[in-house]
Each structure stands twice: as structure tokens, then as C-alpha cells.
Symmetry: C2
Subunit: 295 residues, 2 copies
């Protein structure tokens, strides 16, 4: 995807929501930087529950909420267990109120624009600004160079093979969702699905820190349960999700370990996040020659 | 309607047309003046036939066309005999090409923005800039103060009664479409409909200068034809149309007179535009006390 297609598609999500379209396009066009990323209609997890923010600037961990008069916030009819949800507890939220008066609306937007431009400028001065770069996003090499995955930065990959190779597996293609790590002793790479399917009924908590796994096949259930309950493997976990443009995402969720006390034969296995950061080991020196296809 | 509602509705017409939405919103937000009016998807009459321009700035008689790759120009399925069509023969048309490269698209848009801002500035310096003012549009008093109606400026009213009172009729409400002028001797005010209905099948030429009128009632046809063919009345004409937001419009089309040679019993009466400008006479001095309701 090009930046053009990305930006236009994000704006298109505000179609039929006319005030949103006005505010989102004015914010974007007046910020007027092609190195800023934005996401419209992003699901977020806040202490009071799920919500949808109208515009999200991930580089600034800043959300914009548009308050429309007489506007019932939409029902979350399209949320499902695969919807990509962002942990937004430490993020900033700014509100823009749609009044009757266009200059008044514009003034609020322009204040937000100025604030954003100042924040970017400050980040540039202090050297922490990371320009939006489509080639880096979802790119295993980029994270290998960076040297770590941290849940707070929401690193993600488009394909299981990319996440695997970021962590030194050196695969060409994969057909599974569970791998013994070649680099981290005692660790596995895990790509769980959270939509209910024929074999599994898995769930993840709102804050992304607890996973419950349940095998649905009664013939295998007991064997599965017994093999896992004593499992001391550390699970480097990338839950599968679908982002707001409909693309698949494997977002790093941390390292999970079995919580044997919380697990039960009746309800399934409970895994708990024990680390939210993973240093990326250099691994095989030949790795850098194996370039990944970029989505 | 407020400016907020007007602007948001015009932008909303570009919904589902994602590149159009991007270009139109960027142009508007970067021009960043609330005294500029724009119309999206305006039907225009050009020498080569009808067309739809993507964005039209009436104060500057400037149109923007957005050239999308592989984009078939839409069929004019919603055009009918009432669609408001602008005579654009002397207007400027600028094109913005949607390439793959977002900065390249932005650069083209920004050049147009700068050109527009310079034109406005020049108009301001020379005193001919007329800021977009919703209270003036369609307001009979505004045109009375201005002192004339000129087809090239596309003066229009929302209601027949407003056009009547602009020309000194002093009505409170009207139920008809044909009035003897109280101010202009030998003149009538005429508000023809161009959609085919039970009684009439009227047509107007593409350039707006020729009208053909046909009574559809066979019992009345001969009497009607004979009374009109010898008609020497001058018709101050406001064809009824529907603008691109779906509102009714009576736009001044000039003064029309019967063309007896071109008329025929078989095809109907032909009227031809003989003047495209009408000086507004002061009329009754009490007029100014009768304020019109503003739509």
C-alpha cells in the first residue's frame, strides 16, 4: 500500500459521518506533514471499557474525539474478538466540539494542529521523532535493527513468517501458529486466534494481559489439558487481529506463562503476561542477507 | 442553513469518491477562508456538452477537475430537466492529476491554493471581492440594493415570492407561476417548469437562451397557441431548477420574447432571450419595510 492509498482509505472511513470527515480532513491537511500517521475510528481500551476514538495519532499517542450535538455514539456492531484494540490508558485525548459556528469549530481544530506541530517539533529537537515510514512498519528488519519489541510501542507484523524471522527463525513460509524458538531457550512463538473456531475457543482480556485457551474437541480435551497444565514454556505471543482497514495483524502482546492455579479442567488454561518487552538477539549472522518481502 | 451545514454537505457529496474527498477537503482547508463558497459536482454547460466539474468556486468562476487514473467519469444518471446547470463557457478550469505519489498530489493542490489566494487578494485590493454571505444569497433585498439582475452572475431565489418582490410585486404569498409586472410596463414574470408534467412539456436549450413551450392538453392547445403566438409580452424569466444539494432554485435567465417565425402549431411556441440584464427599479417606496423571510 502507498501512503496515498493509506491516507485516502483512512479518510474514507469517515464517509457518511460528515462532521467527522470535516474535522479529520482539516486536522490532517492543516498539520500538512506526510510523516505523520493517523488512524480513524480506532478501538481503544480505557479503564471504563472499550471505546472508539475518531482519530488517533500513534506517534504522539494522541486521540481526537469529535463531540457532535445530538449524536448517539455508534454501537460497536462490528467489534469482534479479532478487532484490533489499542491499550490507551496512558494516551492523551483531546475533544473537538461541533458547535453551529464554523469559525469556532475551525479555531478548536487549529489549536489542536498547533499543539501537534509543537509536539512534533519538540520530538525532532530531542531526537525521538520517528517519521511515519511505510517501509518500516511491519518490517522484521526494522525491529531487528531497533533491537527490541515493546508492547507499549505496539509492534506488529502482517504475516506469521515475518514475526518468526524477526526473532531469528529464518523461515521461507509457515503453515502453523506454534513454533519452538531457535534463539530463546525454553521459549515458543505463539500466534493465537481469538475468534471462536472449530477447534478452539480462546479469549483475551480487555487489557491484553490474560489469555484463556480452551480446546473444543472433547476427544482431545483431556490430553491437551494435561500436557499444557504442567507446561513451563514461555510464550512469545502475537495474537492475530484485524486492523481497521481490514488487514491481518500479528501484534506483539508480550511473553505469557501458564498460571496453573487459575487454570481449571472446566474453564481451560490461563496464561498471564509476565514480560512486556523482548530484546531481539542477533541470532544467525546470515540473517541480514535474507530480506523479507514487504507487504 | 448555516455555513457549517453548507460546507459539510458539499463535502459529503464526495463520499464514496475517495480521491475527490481528499482533494476537495485539502483545497478547502488550505485556502482556509470562510468567505469563499464552493460547490462540488456542479453540472456545467460547455461548448462540447454537459459535464460535471468536481469543485466550483463561483466567486472566481473557477472549476477544479480531478483526473483519476482508470476512473471512468460517471454517467449522468441523475441529470434531469430540472438539474441546475451553470453556463461555464468563460470559466477557468484547472486540473489536478491523481498520481501515486502523495507529495506530488499535494504540490499540485498547493499551487492551486496559492493561485486562488492571490486571485482573492487581488480582488480585495481592487474592491471587487464579494465575500460569501449566506444572508445575501437568494435575498431579494440584496439584489434590490445591488440594482440589477445579470445572467452572468447567476442571481437566484429560493421562492417565487422572493423573485416577485425583488421586482417590486410586494406579495405575501403566491400560488402561480405567471404575473403581470407592476413595475415594468409590458413585462410579465415567468417561472417555467422544465420537467414534463400533466399540462406542459417545456424545454430549454443547453445555453439557456431558447425556450420551447408546449401545452399538453389537446382541448386547450389551439386556444393556447393562438393566444400566445401573437403575444408581444416580455417575459422576465426564472426557470425552476433543483440545485446540487436538492434545494429548489429560481435562477434569473434573462428576458425572453416570442419568436413567431420559429414557433409552429406542431412543435410549440419558441421564446428567445433578448436581454440578459435587468435594471431593478425602485418601485414602491414602502418596499424596504417589507422584509423577506430568509431561507
Amino acid at each position: 500500500m502507498t501512503k496515498r492509498d493509506y491516507v485516502v482509505r483512512q479518510m474514507a472511513k469517515t464517509n457518511k459521518k460528515n462532521y467527522e470527515n470535516y474535522v479529520v480532513t482539516r486536522l490532517y491537511h492543516r498539520i500538512n506533514r506526510d510523516d505523520i500517521k493517523f488512524i480513524t475510528q480506532q478501538y481503544v481500551n480505557k479503564p471504563e471499557g472499550y471505546a472508539l476514538t475518531d482519530m488517533y495519532f500513534p506517534q504522539l499517542t494522541l486521540h481526537i474525539e469529535i463531540d457532535e450535538p445530538f449524536h448517539e455514539k455508534q454501537q460497536f456492531h462490528d467489534i469482534n474478538r479479532e478487532t484490533d484494540i489499542i491499550q490507551a490508558t496512558s494516551h492523551d485525548i483531546l475533544r473537538i466540539k461541533i458547535s453551529d459556528d464554523l469559525p469556532e469549530i475551525n479555531q478548536q481544530i487549529d489549536e489542536v494542529v498547533n499543539m501537534i506541530l509543537k509536539r512534533i517539533e519538540k520530538s525532532e529537537v530531542t531526537g525521538i521523532w520517528e517519521p511515519w515510514d511505510l517501509d518500516k512498519e511491519f518490517n522484521p528488519e526494522y525491529y531487528r535493527e531497533k533491537g527490541y519489541l515493546d508492547v507499549s510501542e505496539q509492534p506488529a507484523f502482517r504475516r506469521i513468517v515475518d514475526a518468526c524471522n524477526c526473532l531469528g527463525q529464518q523461515y521461507k513460509a509457515v503453515q502453523q501458529a506454534w513454533f519452538k524458538s531457535k534463539i530463546y531457550p525454553g521459549h515458543y512463538l505463539w500466534f493465537p486466534k481469538f475468534y471462536e473456531n472449530e477447534d478452539w475457543d480462546n479469549r483475551i482480556s480487555n487489557d491484553g494481559k490474560v489469555i484463556i485457551e480452551r480446546c473444543k474437541n472433547p476427544d482431545h480435551y483431556e490430553a491437551w489439558f494435561n500436557s499444557i497444565i504442567s507446561d513451563i514454556a514461555k510464550r512469545i505471543t502475537f495474537p492475530r487481529s484485524i486492523d481497521n482497514l481490514g488487514f491481518r495483524l500479528y501484534k506483539f502482546a508480550g511473553i505469557f506463562e501458564t498460571d496453573t492455579e487459575a487454570s481449571s479442567f472446566e474453564h481451560g488454561i490461563v496464561y498471564r503476561q509476565t514480560q512486556d518487552r523482548l530484546e531481539i538477539k542477533a541470532g544467525n549472522e546470515d540473517y541480514s542477507r535474507t530480506r523479507q518481502r514487504r507487504d
